[in-house]
Amino acid sequence: MNKAEILAHLPYSKPFLFVDELEEIDENGAKGSYTFDAGLDFYKGHFKDNPVTPGVILTETMAQIGLVCLGIYLSGSAEGGMPGHVMLTSTAIDFMKPVFPGEKVTVTAQKVYFRFKKLNCTVQMTNAAGEVVCKGTIAGMVTNKMNG
């Protein structure tokens, strides 16, 4: 599968699509970027008069670029395989720096293992200055159904 096919297979749309570009993908990992639109609705409430990207959204962004794109690639590239959906099953993330509206972030993911349909990755997000914003481990099950 090529990058355009993977992006086309993502099951998200605005306002919950957090992938702009997929820069690199192979059987061992993925790299992509996203710029947080300052108009995203959650900035109105997180926090009042002081918008900062919520940690769950940073986690989701790392999951979409790292885990989901890689899961689609791996399942779609397998012999006789069909690109599947990825159901998130666990996360362990440390947060180092805030991400403000309008910031561009880059996510890199490294596969730890993909066995018995479970994909486990280490993920890291950096900001435009190259500083690590958050990092950790994310895992999911590749399924054929949308709701696991």
């Binding site: 666990s90 293992y113 018995f116």
Partner: protein, 87 residues
């Protein structure tokens, strides 16, 4: 390794993934990983990977599909160890 010893090792492997400590305490061959021990499918994969590491064996997809309860899993491990002449 006898069955009892094998079951003890399997119990240790399963412990960090189960959300039902009572079911773990009364573990038996008929204990179902998902129904009784409340292990989700993602953590079931981790159980299998830990079994591979602990016993230095390789589990394939067909065997994995059979490993839904403790008894079946012990049988598969025993067969593997026998085949490798490491009983």
């Amino acid at each position: 390794m006898d069955k009892e010893e094998l079951l003890t090792k399997l119990k240790e492997i399963v412990a960090p993934y189960t959300h039902d400590k009572d079911a773990l305490a009364t573990i038996s061959p008929s204990t179902d990983f998902i129904k009784d021990l409340k292990i989700n499918s993602a953590n079931l994969v981790d159980v299998i990977l830990d079994v591979e590491e602990e016993f230095d064996i390789e589990i394939d997809n067909l065997e994995m599909a059979r490993m839904l309860n403790v008894g079946e899993t012990v049988t598969i491990i025993e067969d593997k160890l026998k085949a490798l002449d490491r009983k």
